[in-house]
Each structure stands twice: as C-alpha cells, then as structure tokens.
Symmetry: C3
Subunit: 142 residues, 3 copies
Amino acid sequence: MKVFNASFTLSSDERCELSDITKHVREAIQQFPVSNGIALINTLHTTCALFINEFQSALIDDLKGLIERLVPARGGYRHDDPRYSDCERGNACAHLRAALLGRSIAIGLVNGELALGRFQSVIFAELDGPRKREITVQVLGE
Amino acid sequence: MKVFNASFTLSSDERCELSDITKHVREAIQQFPVSNGIALINTLHTTCALFINEFQSALIDDLKGLIERLVPARGGYRHDDPRYSDCERGNACAHLRAALLGRSIAIGLVNGELALGRFQSVIFAELDGPRKREITVQVLGE
Amino acid sequence: MKVFNASFTLSSDERCELSDITKHVREAIQQFPVSNGIALINTLHTTCALFINEFQSALIDDLKGLIERLVPARGGYRHDDPRYSDCERGNACAHLRAALLGRSIAIGLVNGELALGRFQSVIFAELDGPRKREITVQVLGE
C-alpha cells in the first residue's frame, strides 16, 4: 500500500458559491497507480466546506437558503466586532456555516473508481468568496 | 496492509427511520483478516445519513424532532417545485437533513475490535423512506 | 504501511467548553515513525464533538451561541424526561449538538506534518462537562 498526494485550486465569483468538483477529484486520482483504497478530500481553509450530495441547481438554492436561515449573514457575531476580533472580513457566518457542513470527505476507491452513487457529487462550498482555494486529495491504496 | 470491501442492504418502513447498524458493521468487518486499521462506512445515496451517537429510543425521538425543526418537511423548497426540478419525490428536506448529519464514518479498528465507546452506536438515518439502501464497509488494515 | 494508535485525556471545567487540541494531536503523532499517511482523530464519547476551524476566542463565543440557538439547553427533550429515559444527566442537548458538529476527523500527514492550513485548529467541544474525556489518534502511513 502507498500514499499519494495531489491538490488543485478553485476560484469563485460569489460570496457564497457551491461547485461540483467530482470531475476535479476524479482527475486528481486517475494519475495514481491505485485501484483499491481510500481517497481523502480536504481543504486547508476554515471558511469553506466539502460534502457529498446531489448537485441539482434547485437543490443548491435550497442548501444556500438553509444555511442562510440557520446562520444569518448578519447575526451580531463577536468575530465580526472590532472590539473582540481583528478579523476585518465580517466572515463569522462563513466559519459557523463551515462548522455545520463539514470540511473533510473520505470516499472508497474500488476497482479504480471512486465509490460514489449515481446521484452523488463531491460539492465544494465557498462561504467567504470570491477567493482562490486549495483542495487536497490524498489517496491510500494498492 | 490490505484493502477489503463489503456491503449490506437495509430496508425501512417509515419516511424517516433511524436504525442501529453497529451489529451489521461488526459482522461485515469480522469476515476480514484484519486486526488493526480503519473502517470506512459510507452510503451511496444522497437522502440518508450515517453518524455515531447513543441509540436510546427517547433520544432518537429528539433527533427526529431536531431535524424536523431545523429542516421542516414542507419548507417551500425549489427542489420540490416542478418549475425548477424534475424530481417528483418532494424530498428536498431529506437532502438538506443529510447535509447537516453527514454520511460518512471512519472508525479505528484496534485489536480486531471497532474502536467504539460503551454508548456509541453506528446509526443509519433513512430520511426519504421507505426504501432499500446499500451501505458499504471498507477496511484498510493489517 | 503501518498502523499506530495513541490516545490522550482532556479535562474541562465548564458544561460547554471548546479547546484547541492541535498541539496534543501533533505530539501524539510525532512519536510514530510515519511521514506520509493519514491521522484519524476520534472520541469514544457521545456528548462531545471534534471539528476543525479557527480557534479565535470571539469566534468560539459565536460557535457556542450558534449551538445554543439551534439546540437550546432546555428544549423539552424526551431523553431528559424520566418517563422515557433513565439518563439523569439532562444531556439531550449535548447529544444533539454532537450530531450536528460531528465527532471524527481525518487529516492528511504529509512529509511528517499534519496537513492543516494556517488558521486551522483541531477543536474539541465538551458539550456535557465538566468531565475527563479520552481522545484517540490513529495513524496509517509509511
């Protein structure tokens, strides 16, 4: 068994933007001589999220609506208040939304294929864009 | 170190039904000659969830109450509106609930045993049942 | 590739207390002769959480505020009602908060270092303290 590391970058145009990155992940994995193992997808940032769901545009709107409802952009957060924080981005909501959605994915690799179901996409959620972000893909396998 | 793959199916009777699948996972793992490593439990579907918690019936009721409160079954979702989606199941709430609860579990395997605490159960949450679902168990270890 | 297991304990003084355990995790990992692989951080308990975010004190206050708002301490939970549960701790809120925040982290290990971004900390959330808790660190790598 061996370990392989890859990464790619992703740019966004909006403050809150969800992207289907399944193809990027598949391309990163295909360069490795591994047919069985696991793929770990992570991001090194704290104001974005990674998760698996169906990437259907109306559903993506619903997901944005959900996180806006549970964690409003303006919620009187201390992290956005210069008395308590020197962060000037006003991005507390992005941190909190990331905490709810998660930022790490582990997927099986079986016979050279990512073990994803027919409707499953790997989704990257930029929560404090527009920004350029790095996403890492690590494969352990044989 | 080696990689082993198993899977099992689970049926539900209700729209929203939580099941303790710890025993199924243990049985899947025991067939492999591995004593130390990790077990990755995944589902290939987008409207169900996997997580670890105590499986106590009153608490399960509370969990159902929580997700119903945070993500109401009828929330005016675009994914449930034929103008924006050709999905006819009216299951936006199941997708959104799955996004909050997660759908992937990684557990250590130590001396041939799943590293679970006394009150920890592996819980499968059917969020758009009744349905038959496939759950995969992947073991990396030695 | 090999598997290594470590663990450490953590004590808390408050009912709800968030701690930056990145240093503990790094120390646990450094004792192993592994430079590339993955580290799996888990807890064996059901009323605490593990996740990655920025550990900034105002943001930690915001996180506590968020979970208190989404899952109030007193929410009329059945798990806290002696008619439905023999748990006498009144800790349903801790279980439910743990279900939202997650309790398992997988991080890459690249060239002997945990693959964490500049602002990323491994955060342990005690949700039903004060208590002593065990956190496990498992490394698969070479």
